[in-house]
C-alpha cells in the first residue's frame, strides 16, 4: 500500500473510522487532486461521518450544507444584508452622492456568507460537506457546477469571486433521485458499501470498548442477516451501534427472543419491518454470515 494511503487509513482508524483500501485511495485523491468526491450508498453506511473524520484528520473546519427541496442561492451561497444596507443609506444619504452610496452598499461588507461562499473564503482549506444532494432540486445542482469545477462563485453585483483556498468537497447521495451527468463528471466517485462483518465488529469494539466480543458478534451477525431480508429500511452502522449500546446498558450477554422484541426499535424504524422480525425467532437471524 502507498505510504500516504497507509497513513490516512491509520489516522482515520485512530479517529474511529475504518477505511477500506478503495475508499482510502479516494480520500487520498481528494487531498492530492483537489477534485470533489461524490459518495453514494445506502443510508447509514458512514458517508457523512467520513467528511467529519476528514476534517478532524486535516485539523480543519467542516462546513456542512444539508440539502432539501427548495434550497436556493440565498440559503447556500450568499444573501445581501438588507438591514445593514438600509442603515448605511440612512446614515450617509445626506453626505454622499447616490452613485457612491450605491457602490458602497454592494460591497463584500454587506454580504451575508452562506456555506458555499464561506468555504471558498476561508483562509485555510476547509472540508465542505454537501449532504444528501439528491434531496435538492436539479436547479441547485446547476448552481454547484461552477463551484465544483472552478472553485469560484459569480455574484452579479460583485463579479466572480475566486476561492482564497480550495475547499475539500464531499458530496453525499442516497440515490433517491438520479444526479445529473454534468455534476457526476465534476467529481471523483465512490460507492460506499456496508462494512464487512469483521469490519463492523471492529467498529462496535472501537466505539464501545466495554462490549464483549460474543455480544458484538451476535449483534453484527443479526444485523447483517437483517440487511439480506427485503426490508423497507435496512439498518445502518448507526443502528448497529445504538442496539449494541442498548444491550450493553441492559447488561445483556446474549441476544434472546425476548430482548429482540423489546429493543428492536433501536434497529428498525418501519412498522412492517418490526412486525417481520417479531414474527421470527432469534436463531433465524443468528446463523453465521457467509
Amino acid at each position: 500500500m502507498n505510504k500516504e494511503i497507509e497513513d490516512i487509513t491509520k489516522d482515520f482508524y485512530r479517529l474511529d473510522y475504518i477505511l477500506n483500501e478503495a475508499l482510502a485511495t479516494s480520500v487520498f485523491l481528494l487531498k492530492n487532486l483537489g477534485k470533489p468526491l461524490l459518495l453514494e450508498g445506502n443510508p447509514g453506511v458512514g458517508k457523512t461521518v467520513l467528511a467529519n473524520t476528514l476534517a478532524q484528520h486535516l485539523n480543519t473546519h467542516l462546513i456542512r450544507l444539508q440539502c432539501y427541496e427548495g434550497l436556493d442561492v440565498s440559503t447556500t451561497i450568499y444573501e445581501w444584508n438588507y438591514q445593514k444596507q438600509l442603515l448605511h443609506i440612512k446614515l450617509f444619504e445626506q453626505e454622499q452622492d447616490k452613485k457612491t452610496l450605491g457602490k458602497e452598499i454592494f460591497g463584500m461588507d454587506y454580504v451575508l456568507q452562506r456555506p458555499l461562499l464561506q468555504s471558498i473564503s476561508a483562509e485555510k482549506p476547509v472540508v465542505l460537506l454537501i449532504d444528501e444532494i439528491d434531496r435538492a432540486d436539479e436547479e441547485f445542482e446547476a448552481y454547484l457546477l461552477e463551484l465544483l469545477s472552478d472553485f469560484q462563485i459569480s455574484i452579479p453585483e460583485l463579479g466572480t469571486i475566486q476561492a482564497r483556498s480550495k475547499p475539500l468537497v464531499i458530496l453525499t447521495s442516497n440515490r433517491t433521485r438520479e444526479l445529473s451527468d454534468a455534476l457526476r463528471r465534476r467529481c471523483l466517485y465512490q460507492w460506499v458499501e456496508f462494512p464487512t462483518k469483521a469490519g463492523e465488529i471492529d467498529i462496535i469494539a472501537k466505539k464501545l470498548p466495554g462490549i464483549e466480543e460474543e455480544l458484538a458478534t451476535q449483534v453484527v451477525t443479526f444485523i447483517h442477516n437483517l440487511r439480506k431480508s427485503s426490508l423497507h429500511k435496512p439498518p445502518g452502522i448507526a443502528e448497529s451501534l445504538d442496539w449494541a449500546k442498548t444491550l450493553l446498558l441492559m447488561n445483556q450477554k446474549n441476544i434472546t427472543d425476548e430482548i429482540v422484541k423489546t429493543t428492536i426499535g433501536c434497529v428498525l424504524k418501519h412498522k412492517d419491518d418490526v412486525e417481520f422480525v417479531r414474527n421470527k425467532t432469534v436463531q433465524e437471524f443468528l446463523y453465521p454470515v457467509e
Binding site: 494511503i5 478503495a22 477534485k35 460507492w191
Partner: protein, 378 residues
C-alpha cells in the same frame, strides 16, 4: 516525478476507449486526470492505480460494479510483464556480479566467470537478437522489446509476402510460347531476349480463416490478424471471420488498402473482442449462415484458437466434423501448442483432434513463418 512512457500512454488511452465503448462517461478531462496520476507514479502500484482510475472513471454504481473486472482483464498482462521485467533485471544484476573486472591498457573489461559462461553457452540458441525475438511467444514480448519486435514482424511479414509473390508468379508460368517469344523479339532486332510463357490457367485458391479473439487469445489475435492481412493479397478468395461469443464476418472490412485502417475498422466492429469463448456455437453459426457459400472441396479452412471452450464440447466436435467433411483441408493453429510441455488434453481440443488434417502451433513469429509451406500447398 515519474515520466510517463509512450507505450504506457497508448495503453492508457486504449483503456479509456475500452471503458468508453462500455458506456463509461469519459471525456478529455478524465483522460488528463488519468495521465496525471500516472505521471505522479501511482501506476507503479497496481492497487493504487486501479482504485485511482476507478474513482476517476466511474460515475455511477453500475460502472463501479463492473470496473474491477474490466481493469483486471485489460491490465493483468501489463503488470505481469512489469514483474517479469523486474525479475529479469534482478537476474541480470546477479549475473553482473558474477563477472571478473580486468583493467587492460586503461580500459575496463568485464569477463564472465566460467560458471556463467557455461550457462550462457546453453542459451546460445537465443543469442542472436532477431532470432531470440522470432522465437519469443507473442504473449511474452517484454515492454522493452515491443518496438523492436514490431519492426521485426513488419520486416519478416514483408519478406514472406515477397516469397509468396515470387512463388505464385513462377507457379503460374507454363511452357515457352515460341510464337509469342519471336513476336516480342522483332521489336528488339530479332534477338530473343525475353522468353514468353504459355499462360497457365490460374488455379483459384480458396481459404477461410476463423480467428478466435476471446480474452484468452488477446495477445495472439493481434499478430495472427496481421499475418492474415499479409496473406490476403495472395489468395484469390480469402474469407475471414472472428469469433469469441459471436461470429463476425470480417472480409468486407478487408477491402481497404491501408493496414492500419483495416485494424481500426475491425477493432470498431468486433464487439465481442476479448470476451469469453464459445467455439462450438460460433462454428455452428458459421456452418448454418456461411457454410453453403464458403465450404467446398476447393476450400481450406484454418481455425486459429487455443481451444479453451466454455460452451458445449459436443457442439464443437460436431461442428468441426461437419466442416472437415465439407472442405478440402482443415487446419487448426493453436498458440498453446508452442508452450513447453503442452499436451492437447483440453476437452475442446481432445474432441476435435481426430477430425483435423493438421494441428500446428502459432505462438511466435517463427511458427507463423513455418506455416508458409502449409499454406502454399493449399
Amino acid at each position: 516525478m515519474q515520466a510517463v512512457e509512450k507505450t504506457f500512454k497508448e495503453r492508457l488511452i486504449d483503456f479509456t476507449m475500452y471503458c468508453r465503448e462500455r458506456q463509461f462517461m469519459l471525456g478529455p478531462q478524465e483522460t488528463r486526470e488519468a495521465f496525471e496520476i500516472a505521471r505522479r507514479g501511482y501506476a507503479l502500484d497496481r492497487k493504487l492505480f486501479q482504485y485511482s482510475l476507478k474513482a476517476i472513471y466511474c460515475k455511477r454504481k453500475e460502472h463501479f460494479d463492473r470496473f474491477d473486472e474490466m481493469f483486471d482483464r485489460f491490465w493483468s498482462r501489463y503488470y505481469e510483464e512489469q514483474l517479469e521485467a523486474r525479475q529479469k533485471k534482478v537476474k541480470q544484476l546477479k549475473k553482473e556480479k558474477d563477472v571478473d573486472t580486468v583493467i587492460f591498457l586503461g580500459t575496463e573489461f568485464k569477463i564472465p566467470r566460467k560458471q556463467v559462461q557455461e550457462e550462457e553457452a546453453k542459451q546460445t540458441v537465443g543469442a542472436n537478437e532477431n532470432l531470440r525475438l522470432r522465437m519469443t511467444d507473442f504473449s511474452k514480448v517484454e515492454v522493452a522489446d515491443k518496438e523492436k519486435f514490431e519492426e521485426l514482424a513488419e520486416e519478416l511479414f514483408h519478406q514472406m509476402s515477397m516469397r509468396f509473390k515470387r512463388r505464385l508468379e513462377s507457379a503460374n508460368k507454363g511452357s515457352i510460347d515460341i510464337r509469342k517469344t519471336i513476336r516480342h523479339g522483332i521489336s528488339k532486332g530479332g534477338l530473343l531476349l525475353d522468353l514468353s510463357h504459355k499462360r497457365k490457367r490460374k488455379e483459384k485458391r480458396k481459404v477461410v480463416f476463423i480467428l478466435d479473439v476471446s480474452g484468452s487469445m488477446d495477445t495472439y489475435s493481434y499478430y495472427l490478424l496481421r499475418y492474415i492481412l499479409v496473406l490476403k493479397k495472395y489468395f484469390k478468395s480469402l474469407e475471414f471471420f472472428t469469433f469469441s461469443t459471436e461470429l463476425t464476418h470480417i472480409t468486407p472490412m478487408l477491402r481497404q488498402n491501408n493496414e492500419l485502417e483495416i485494424l481500426k475498422a475491425i477493432g470498431k466492429n468486433v464487439h465481442s473482442w476479448s470476451s469469453g469463448t464459445k467455439i462450438g456455437d460460433s462454428l455452428q453459426e458459421f456452418l448454418s449462415v456461411y457454410g453453403s457459400k464458403f465450404l467446398s472441396q476447393k476450400h481450406v479452412v484454418v481455425i486459429l484458437s487455443d481451444g479453451l471452450e466454455t460452451g458445449n464440447v459436443t457442439v464443437l466436435k460436431e461442428a468441426v466434423r461437419t466442416i472437415q467433411r465439407k472442405c478440402k483441408t482443415l487446419v487448426w493453429l493453436n498458440p498453446l501448442k508452442g508452450m513447453e510441455g503442452y499436451q492437447p488434453i483440453q476437452k475442446g481440443i481432445v474432441n476435435v483432434m481426430p477430425h483435423l488434417d493438421a494441428f500446428e502451433s502459432a505462438h511466435n513469429l517463427d511458427s507463423l513463418l513455418k506455416l508458409e509451406k502449409l499454406l502454399m500447398d493449399v
